[in-house]
Symmetry: C2
Subunit: 384 residues, 2 copies
């Protein structure tokens, strides 16, 4: 019906919403933007706090999935390396030049184990283990590749997800790791994920106190048995001050601190204030696409550009309008003062940063309302 | 630290979880799989039902974002064309050879309007309008491109999202469209999105009855004023029998019917049964990655491979286990009988198909437990 010569004129692009040097107002909506001053301030803040505490940072790249940001965290943020959650993420990071990568998760599928062993020929690779048979499988793959994989025993310290249930079980796995070719024992993974978003300070401190007790007991039993835990890892943006001060943990795995999100900003500190050391640097840039009613407006950012698992986004810097409803491609903005007009732009703070970033192909880096950089979300969708 | 020659050995792939001919058991997890027999049956079922009703299908590609599936719906499913929600989706579809595309949404940004006008040189392009100024802007762009854009007036028939609030407002916009160069008036968009997932049959019928009344009133006023509505469009998988039988609507915009999801299967028909004419064809293929406790298991499918905005996924074909908790990269599977083991595979029916598909790069097409095809999610992430 249409000639192919006409079709060939079409250029379907790389889905890049901006060009470097462009004004923010010209960035296509919806887009994922980073305010670079705020981002850099967050990176510096955590670096300084952990330096004072005398613990390492192994920044979690599951938040951003970006090779550029991982390099920035290592070069400027004091990170000794990064964490990933998936082998495919680790492959992207190592291919992008990151030399020290922990998969802070179990890798049990035979094909994934083979890929992990392959990867260990190119970078320092660490992985978490909570099963004896898995140790054998990792050892066989690493040995076949003449590679070494460093293994941490993961303990369940309250999150009720992965991890062994007792210090004795951890000891048994650690001893097995130590006895296997191709593997070396690196320490303990003790991440209390269920504590990160607990609003109340005392309750959050209590959960991390309990986790620290479990980690300390396991550490003591392993040490008694001549197993050296070079790494005792855990902590996230919501809880790291506790782990950093614990005397037990020595490696922090914070991720969200670089961006923050609406849910993390409902978490309170000791003074009953919102966590205040980090600021919002990540936003969904959206525009008004329908204004057929006085009391509300429709924006072009819905479920396909942000995750609402932890609540709706918050309109940044405006208290006269509110994001009140989210469908696949639309957001309903309550506009009681009838202030919004077609093509007006808004910045939304997403409810939950990690799964929001995973929906986008590009970060648009903004400084002084100009596009300064474009960073691909290098490991977006890398789920296996 | 590592030599670049070593790094260059790394092959970071296209994120394809399978190869054609592979057994399903070998597909990397988590992956998005289509059971092709079920998919084809769904496509045939709607084709037959709409043929009997004597209405057209303009299948909604926002569900699948796949050029391959769009072609299949046109070639085998009776579709006269497709709907998209975004200009970027429409660009992908037209570049992929789809010749008849409606953007069932407002396009008001100047750059997007220019892209839409450009696209209209390569395919039949339709768009929805609910604002007078937008008509001028579309006309200017289409005229500059020597193109024609077909415009539908969108009316709000109960969803409270986009669309004008009265028949008189619709008439004013329709007359303006008819008077503008570069545009032609195509009819009415009257989609009641808020009715699609209403569980109760009578309540759902009531909402569509009200929407049909609004559409009929607008249709009558436009017809009285010599405006021919070639298209009266709306309907989705949850409500199409009502619109198809209404005598008012003539073009159905169903999307989810090809896949179904856990939420649509909570919608009841007249007999109080779940909507029964369509079957589950879309699944998240997942595996057990941690089994450190008797009563539950951890699978590798979380928020980053499926959207839980409409509820948690359902484990398909098993009543002995249940998906009870979802975090970014993990799912908690209650396993009261302690039946699951590491590397066991499960099929999950996602809670909401559209935003789930948008998280993946590939559909893995399965027939008789073999990989038959790999379809890219061509317009994944195309949000602007």
């Amino acid at each position: 019906m249409r000639t192919s010569s006409k079709q060939s004129e079409l250029v379907v692009g790389l889905n890049i919403p901006a060009e470097i040097g462009m004004d923010l107002s010209e960035v296509a909506t919806p887009a994922l933007i980073i305010e670079l001053d705020a981002f850099e301030r967050n990176v510096a803040t955590l670096r300084e706090r952990l330096a004072v505490a005398g613990v390492r940072l192994r920044a979690h790249s599951k938040t951003h999935k970006s090779v550029d940001i991982a390099h920035y965290q290592i070069d400027h943020g004091g990170a000794c390396g990064i964490c990933c959650q998936k082998v495919a993420e680790a492959e992207v990071m190592v291919a992008g030049g990151i030399a020290d990568v922990m998969v802070s998760n179990q890798v049990v599928d035979p094909n994934k184990i083979a890929r992990l062993a392959q990867l260990a020929k190119h970078a320092r690779v660490l992985v978490c283990v909570d099963d004896l048979q898995n140790v054998d499988d990792l050892s066989a793959a690493a040995t076949a590749q003449h590679a070494n994989i460093e293994c941490l025993v993961e303990i369940d310290c309250g999150a009720g997800r992965c991890g062994v249930q007792s210090s004795e079980a951890a000891l048994e796995i650690a001893q097995k790791i130590e006895s296997c070719t191709g593997l070396s024992f690196a320490g303990i993974q003790a991440y209390q994920g269920a504590a990160q978003h607990v609003r109340d300070y005392a309750e959050r401190r209590g959960k991390i106190g309990a986790a620290t007790g479990i980690a300390a007991d396991t550490l003591a039993l392993l040490t008694e048995n001549d197993l050296d835990c070079a790494i005792v890892a855990g902590a996230g943006t919501g809880s790291y001050p506790f782990e950093a001060a614990s005397g037990v943990y020595n490696e922090m795995q914070c991720g969200s601190y670089i961006f923050m999100d609406a849910d993390y900003q409902r978490v309170l500190d000791a003074q009953g204030e919102y966590i205040s050391e980090f600021v919002n640097s990540l936003f969904i840039w959206t525009s008004i696409m329908s204004k057929a009613r006085q009391d509300d407006a429709i924006c072009d950012a819905g479920l396909k550009v942000m995750s609402i698992d932890s609540g709706l986004p918050v309109v940044y810097g405006r208290d006269d309008v509110e994001y009140v409803g989210c469908s696949d491609e639309h957001g309903v903005i309550a506009d009681p003062g009838d202030r919004l007009r077609l093509n007006d732009r808004l910045k939304l703070v997403p409810g939950h940063c990690d799964p929001t970033c995973n929906l986008h192909d590009w970060y648009v880096g903004i400084r002084n309302d100009k596009v300064e950089c474009l960073w691909p979300v290098s490991a977006r969708g890398m789920a296996f």
